[in-house]
Assembly symmetry: C2
Homo-oligomer: 308 residues x 2
């Protein structure tokens, strides 16, 4: 149903063999990007998913390693033939930052829609069926964590449709969530749909220290992608002071939020071999993986879920 790609796993500076942390999400032909550091467009190109279908770009915060690639990406999207509007979401001052950076990308063949998200409270925005949720992090400057959710309606209950004597021609409309009025009778989706089924939730958290509010935000994620600036627990003080986490912070968040899988990312350039510290996290949350550039997964609805 959904393809998720961690475009890079680095933090602070792009390295020859480690791209900056960003997420590319694909569902039903639409793509959403979270973060866009220097070189993110090169990583997207390596993946081969194209640029034209990027509907929205969510930015966590305005440190260069999460935003410096924006003007170049927008130009490349323009060159790819995109003419439909592109939505950019981020904390304040979104308009100032986008206006400043696009001084070098003055003529784009599509409209840029800006959606500034609050840094004091959670927020939600919808791109087609994809719910983009944000919540404040705690970093050196205002930052946001994101999750992307696809909700799934309940199963269609044929027996109910028959019992209510609903004409067959309306069944698919009701299944899609429409309300029908027919010969003075009103049929609503709830009459024929079972309990909502589990959807798919991907959570992306970076450039924030661990906070209690992140636990409900990440609750029941199919995949939690979370920063681990350092692997070694002895650096926990340094990490927190700079608004970051160590691997064990991320693992605790995965466990406490009941997430199904954790990918670590946003490694410090000083962390040459993240896998040396994987065990530190895996002891706390066993289904932890060290993120790598362009690591990706296909995630299906619960009943069909499988690793790709």
């Amino acid at each position: 149903m959904i393809d998720v790609c961690l475009l890079g796993c680095g933090g602070m500076v792009p390295l020859p063999d480690r791209s900056l942390t960003a997420l590319l999400y694909k569902y039903n032909g639409k793509m959403i990007l979270i973060d866009c550091g220097e070189g993110t467009q090169v990583s997207i190109r390596r993946m081969g998913w194209g640029f034209k279908a990027i509907e929205a770009i969510c930015i966590t915060h305005y440190h260069g390693d999460h935003i410096a690639g924006l003007p170049g990406l927008l130009m490349t999207m323009g060159n790819s033939g995109r003419t439909e509007p592109v939505t950019i979401l981020g904390p304040p001052p979104l308009a100032d930052v986008v206006r400043a950076l696009t001084i070098i990308a003055p003529e784009l063949p599509f409209q840029v829609i800006l959606k500034e998200l609050p840094v004091e409270a959670a927020a939600c925005w919808k791109i087609g069926e994809i719910m983009i949720n944000s919540t404040p992090g705690e970093h050196l400057i205002p930052s946001l964590a994101y999750n992307l959710q696809i909700n799934r309606a309940g199963k269609f209950l044929v027996e109910n449709a028959i019992a209510y004597e609903i004409p067959v021609k309306y069944w698919s409309k009701l299944q899609r969530g429409e309300t029908i009025v027919h010969q003075d009778k009103k049929y609503i989706p709830e009459m024929v749909l079972g309990e909502p089924r589990e959807g798919i939730k991907i959570t992306y958290i970076t450039d924030t220290r661990q906070t209690d509010s992140l636990i409900p935000f990440a609750k029941d994620s199919d995949l939690l992608i979370c920063e681990g600036m350092y692997g070694d627990d002895s650096l926990i003080g340094k990490a927190r002071e700079r608004g970051h986490m160590v691997f064990s912070d991320a693992a605790k968040l995965a466990r406490e939020s009941n997430s199904k899988e954790l990918w670590l990312t946003h490694y410090s350039p000083s962390l040459g071999h993240p896998e040396d510290f994987l065990e530190t996290a895996a002891k706390i949350f066993s289904n932890t993986k060290c993120g790598e550039d362009r690591m990706w997964r296909h995630i299906s609805y619960h009943s069909e879920k499988e690793l790709s």
Copy 2:
């Protein structure tokens, strides 16, 4: 004496296996960078020459592929421990562009000195012994070509120093170009220095169509690095319309300017195999090479010149 590295050979967009065109120049422990597209800092890192010694950054023009990497590079230079001022040179509106882009690099540990260069006339700026010369190009927006020159004083003529009865303790000062007054006598460098010897000149021309004024500008270059957006002469109309050159334009410029060597660069992403068209240029100017990412050369003064 001088190390010159072509950090990338691509134009328009950074590609997985082709960095954007930029030049890194190293002389006596000082470095000068020309152009800074997205990913230039990664290519510098691959070269291993460090970031701290970059004294000046020259920008040809403000299309994203030549400037988008600037804020990231400045931050990385800050992280490298640089505290000495950095000079940025470029056409107008330099201050507006740098101010806008550094919205995401607000706190740098060094001063940024801006030197706006004219787009109507040639100009010159000096960084230590390095002369940075600029001249206008003809592109879709104002652009500049650059050359970097090290001049070399004449040989010290011991016989003259003896004939003028100059005390030996002043010889080295005169050789360095200083004027000496001693017991009411004035000694000037010209008394003891022979004819100025040939220095080293590196010319970098991109994002301009071929113009007559570029010939004297590139005159007698030891190395001419020049754009060749397309290899095929049949695309000459398209190239000129967009303010670019084909390989044969660059080769003619190399020949007419009496340059010693030509490196082609700034290939269109559509030009997958530049070497397929090398012969087109080499027929006009035999010492032509197709630029590649991080191709570099050590260039010595004329009497000592050799390929590294």
